[in-house]
């Protein structure tokens, strides 16, 4: 299968310092829970890395360390950008703000001038296909549309690194697949690096350039798979034998990690 460049970054990936570089990261919470142990992971520019693992294996903790919400208790976690987008499991929209003002929020918190943040928000709303819904309140939106608004909000940061904490877990399958495709388009167009957490193996394989499989608690990395399919992904790739084979391998690794 022909490899096309995964994202519009012309320089070769290997020569750059990685955006995310975790070396031997462990996380032990004050209550004694060991969430992560000996995790090595790198995310380079142009990569979309998805982490799959059983519930409670510390997948989300990885993102929380990368974003700075938590500090690793052992090892080194280096993130060499401060333009980080973070998409939570729930859309975390502010119920009293309409879509436009929700999308403006982060720029507002960063004290950008009103005109600038309004334009940024409008562009981001366009990108996620919510044009025409600017004046809608969150309670008037479906789950998928809320997630789009949440994506748009992070896009206003113009992120170099995008962290996704199971953002589509609560959506129905049709919506989820559509958002997967749109996320890939954004990834190709905007050129950010992605780190994505999910339970779904097929979502992981479909979205990413690299899939990392984690074991149950304490979370360690069981195996890493490169995904060879070209970006942007053809939705029908889901029905090919190669895709099914890779999904099978990842699922296998997942099961082994869970038992071991």
């Amino acid at each position: 299968m022909a490899m096309t460049a995964p994202a519009p970054t012309p320089t070769s990936v290997g020569t750059q310092t990685p955006l995310v570089d975790f070396t031997n990261v462990a996380m032990k919470f004050p209550n004694g829970t060991v969430a992560l142990s000996g995790v090595n992971i790198t995310v380079n520019r142009g990569e979309f890395v998805t982490v799959v693992g059983p519930s409670g294996c510390g997948k989300s903790t990885l993102l929380r360390i990368a974003s700075g919400l938590e500090t690793a208790s052992e090892g080194t976690a280096t993130v060499s950008t401060d333009r980080i987008g973070y998409v939570f499991q729930d859309a975390t929209l502010l119920a009293w703000r309409d879509v436009q003002r929700n999308v403006e929020l982060l720029a507002e918190l960063n004290k950008q001038p009103k005109k600038e943040r309004r334009e940024k928000a409008r562009a981001a709303i366009d990108l996620v296909g919510l044009t025409g819904f600017e004046k809608n309140l969150p309670k008037q939106l479906s789950g998928g549309m809320k997630m789009r608004a949440s994506l748009a909000r992070s896009l206003t940061l113009d992120p170099e690194l995008f962290l996704f904490d199971e953002p589509f877990g609560a959506l129905d399958e049709i919506t989820r697949e559509r958002l997967n495709d749109e996320l890939i388009q954004l990834f190709v167009r905007e050129g950010f690096a992605g780190m994505f957490i999910t339970h779904s193996v097929s979502e992981a394989v479909y979205l990413s350039t690299k899939v990392v499989v984690m074991s149950g608690r304490p979370g360690t990395i069981v195996n890493t798979f490169d995904v060879p399919f070209p970006m942007p992904r053809d939705p029908d790739i889901r029905f090919t034998a190669e895709f099914a084979e890779l999904v099978g391998e990842v699922s296998h690794a997942l099961r082994e990690g869970h038992q071991g």
Binding site: S67, G68, L69, I84, Y86, F88, Q89, D90, T92, L94, A95, W96, R97, L105, L106, E108, L109, N110, G129, L130, T131, G132, F133, N136, L137, P138, K139, Q140, L141, S142, G143, G144, M145, D172, I174, T175, R178
Partner: protein, 304 residues
């Protein structure tokens, strides 16, 4: 009640209509349709709905009036004065000199209640804010909010009189003490109802505590704060009337009048004063409900 249910149903339908999440064109039209259907139900239908909602309580009112007149009719002539008829209450109670007396007294009591409520709101919101910002403040002071609520107010009345005099100030203090706890408890609940992920959203942008408070916590707490205000408004009226009973120096409030009329056996006037007090309580309850609806009704969905 039925009106709020109806709007709730509509908003879920609206969300449901766009749930399929198709490319924007069709989604827009789905929303437009629902919105316009909502808009269609305006003047005529709204009035019809209003009438339909008002009918059952009106029927009950008629029954009450019948029972009232019946009671008066059954009583022996020498006892009839105990239950004056509605026309007597209206003509002798609300009409004549006692009418303006009652009106002025009710206004005075309202002044006491609103002053007390305002002080309770400021203190309550401030206290709850401090508790929500610092865990140790909550741990060390919240028990006293509960204790304050548990002290029978009448036990404090003599002391309040000694400390604050037997006029306006003392009445206000009673209102504050009785209205404070719902303000504290509801505001605290509202401030703490913000989800952790929303706090983290702000934390990731390195927002200051002040920004988190003004852009996240207070707006999120507004529905609870208004619920507290509404509860406390009713209690403040009770407090003001209790204050009138015990602190009778200075200008009389409606509580003072109630006692005076009872002592003078002026029952039509007594009934009129009771009804006026009740109306004051109801008015406070409705006004704060209305303010809440204007302030947060648009975005706040009580279902979620």
């Amino acid at each position: 009640m039925s009106a709020t249910e109806a709007t709730t149903v509509d908003s879920t339908e609206l969300a449901h209509n766009v749930d399929v999440d198709p490319p924007h064109g069709s989604a827009v039209s789905a929303v437009d349709m629902t919105v316009s259907r909502e808009a269609v139900r305006t003047p005529a239908e709204r009035i019809r709905r209003g009438v339909r909602a008002a009918l059952p309580p009106l029927a009950v009112f008629v029954v009450i009036v019948i029972i009232w007149y019946g009671a008066n009719a059954i009583l022996a002539p020498t006892q009839k004065f105990l239950v004056p008829t509605i026309d007597q209450v209206i003509i002798q109670g609300f009409g004549g000199p006692s009418g303006s007396q009652i009106l002025i007294a009710v206004l005075r009591t309202t002044g006491v209640a609103i002053t007390g409520l305002a002080i309770a709101a400021v203190l309550g919101i401030g206290w709850a804010t401090a508790m929500s910002l610092a865990r140790w403040v909550q741990r060390s002071t919240y028990p006293y909010a509960v204790i304050l609520q548990c002290i029978p107010i009448l036990a404090l009345v003599p002391l309040i009189g000694v400390w604050f005099g037997y006029e306006f100030n003392a009445r206000v203090v009673v209102c504050v003490m009785i209205a404070l706890f719902p303000m504290v408890a509801n505001t605290l609940f509202g401030l703490q109802s913000v989800e952790r992920s929303q706090h983290e959203l702000f934390q990731l942008q390195k927002a200051s505590k002040w920004t988190v408070l003004t852009k996240l916590m207070y707006p999120a707490a507004l529905p609870s704060i208004f619920l507290g205000l509404r509860t406390s408004a009713g209690l403040a009226v009770v407090g003001a009337i209790v204050g009138d009973f015990f602190f009778q120096r200075g200008q009389p409030g409606v509580g003072t009048l109630l006692q005076t009329y009872a002592r003078l056996l002026s029952y039509p006037q007594l009934f009129a004063a009771i009804i006026a007090s009740a109306l004051l309580g109801v008015a406070m309850f409705f006004i704060f409900g209305l303010i809440a609806k204007i302030a947060v009704g648009k975005w706040y969905d009580p279902v979620n």
